[in-house]
Symmetry: C2
Subunit: 353 residues, 2 copies
DNA sequence: ACCTTTTCCGTTAACGTTAACAGGTTTTGC
DNA sequence: GCAAAACCTGTTAACGTTAACGGAAAAGGT
């Protein structure tokens, strides 16, 4: 029979100091490895430290030092391989420079976006990388934070501020290239799956598509553009296979079907492929499909998915370095804006062998 | 031309107090909404607060209050939809109860596991949910943490401690059911893709497979078991489509091929399907394939993937509630261990229509 | 031998917040 | 009308740490 035991309290510097017969300051010097401490004293202290299972209190330490050696990373959809890869890259750079990374997730809603910013700001992280989609309220709060002096770097968020750097992939060009690829293959009726009105401005990929169509003198049929009408506070995350599936079904129900489809991302594209195959269509003969992001899965669909690769790792690295610059220089440095090129990856879903 | 501007400092309670002509304590009462403050004073204070862009210092607050209203969630592979869904569920419960959630990622290496624990412990989170795979060093450090008094709940981590709850899916039974399903369909030569020696004990799914085979008097051909020999410090995350692809190729190269394959998870299964199709095999006629996890994608492969669904959301919720219990009761409660049932989801990759 | 440098460790005073207490004033209850 | 309750604000003393400084002993240089 187990019975409840009373809670323990953490040992403090003073506890260790008392136990080792020195002052707290000496213990502090030992655990932080700075200042002069004799080998003998160090030994005594370390002994007490491990005997009492001491861990320094980061709150007190942070309060005193006015820095926490911690940065925040705000991600939207955590299930997206893009976000995962970004997190990996950021973590790698930051850990190497002695910073911990705390991730906050806001499933693309303004309220949660703000909650994430505030909780990071409250915990006095030394800097924040924001990779969520733009929204009015979130942008306002973000601006306050930046003006409050917290170093901020944005990744792919359509929001500009003189004291925040912006790193983004060239989604406009990527969308343009993907569409141009389809046009070059002879397609004239090209659909787009996955416009979301709320993030209208942010959907550069869609604008790239429109631009390519216009530039090649092709008419865009309104009915060939599908998306979710109202996704106000929803997460559009990895469940978008379903979104792509349903979008494709809508397109296939039309009298005049598109012969090619550009999907806003790979998941949507996979869903679209699934719907097309279900309808008995051959890919790419009956309908060609292009995705975006080049998730690992894309190489393993049947047929393998043509897609646009964005330099995820590089974006994370560049953002991290920009943040380090902001955090570690005494003056706030001049703003940096980087747009990274994307690369079309042609596979079987557009080009039969 | 932009020039660098000197850094700002955060306003403190004292600054606001001075500006509003009151004491810091009064400001504290206003910003926290407790204690009595006259409407008039509150007005003055709030005015100063927004004028000076004040945010309370969570470090000082946490230090004084001896709690941070924050919990940590340690995830292994962030790209895995399972982890993402788990995070979502945990966040939902915790936000509703007034806690922030910080996520730490450790890509399945002991060193990073430990780093995550320590950084969370240092920041004095009120509790931690750990959902990474077990490893010796990490377990030891975790035990210290638990004994140091931090409330800890484990999800699917094969590690037991009298002061930490354990929530897990019944992977043994799930593996057993998946294999039994294949056996019931008449398969006798069933392969398994994705054993990793390092996590040998943890791979309950594999043991379920072995058990089902044994119980039905089927011999397990050593060569039908594939996995990565040495993944010491690697991430086995979402890139495992490749792992499944390569595993399947090995199986297909054998003289005596298995007629069915059970893959450790859906990504591995997708890779396996890709390899099988490339070899000109029909699924499920020539080879049947079962995955595990029921990721959203599984319903959209061709053919749709038979898989085992684990109650992800429920695991997150139950773990959260267990943690809340540990955090909010004065005594440390008795240990709880929950094993959640999994559910076989039969689709086209094993059963032709 | 004497001065400088290095080593070692203690003291003091914050960092920004809030719990606890205390002292007033106003309202309420009967 | 008067005690009790509710209201409003201030004072004090931590929470656990470390920067800055100071003093004394040991080591090093000439």
């Amino acid at each position: 029979m187990r019975r409840s035991t009373p809670k323990k309290k953490h040992a403090t510097l003073a506890d260790i100091a008392a136990s080792a017969g020195v002052t707290p300051m000496t213990v502090s010097r030992v655990v932080n490895g700075n200042g002069y401490v004799s080998a003998e004293t160090r030994e005594k202290v370390l002994h007490a430290v491990s005997a009492m299972n001491y861990r320094r209190n980061g709150l007190a330490r942070g309060l005193k030092r006015q820095r926490t050696d911690t940065i925040g990373l705000v991600l939207g959809d955590i299930a997206n391989p893009f976000a995962a890869e970004l997190a990996r890259a950021v973590r790698e750079v930051m850990l190497g420079r002695g910073y911990n990374v705390f991730i906050c997730v806001s499933e693309h809603s303004a309220r949660e976006d703000i909650a994430a910013f505030e909780s990071l700001a409250d915990h006095r992280v030394d800097g924040v990388i924001v990779a969520t989609r733009a929204n009015k309220l979130g942008n306002d709060r973000l601006a306050e934070m930046i003006e409050g002096g917290i170093p901020v770097v944005l990744i792919g968020r359509d929001f500009r501020h003189p004291n925040a750097d912006l790193i983004a992939a060239d989604n406009l060009r990527g969308g343009y290239d993907a569409t141009t690829h389809l046009i070059a293959l002879g397609h004239k009726n090209i659909g787009f799956i996955g416009v979301t009105p709320t993030s209208g401005v942010g959907l550069r990929r869609y604008h790239g598509y429109l631009e390519a169509m216009r530039e090649h003198g092709l008419k865009v049929d309104e009915r060939h553009i599908v998306g979710r009408a109202d996704d106000g506070d929803q997460w559009p995350g990895y469940s978008t296979e379903t979104m792509g599936y349903e979008g494709m079904k809508k397109l296939l129900a039309l009298r005049k079907r598109p012969t090619a489809v550009f999907a806003r991302n790979d998941f949507t594209a996979v869903g679209a492929m699934s719907a097309a195959k279900e309808a008995g269509l051959k890919i790419p003969q009956d309908v060609a499909i292009v995705g975006y992001d080049d998730v690992p899965l894309a190489a393993h669909t049947t047929p393998p998915l043509t897609t646009v690769r964005q330099p995820t790792r590089e974006q994370g690295q560049i953002a991290s370095e920009a943040l380090l610059r902001r955090m570690e220089s005494a003056e706030t440095p001049a703003r940096e804006e980087r747009v990274m090129p994307c690369e079309l990856v042609v596979r079987g879903s557009t080009l039969a062998e």
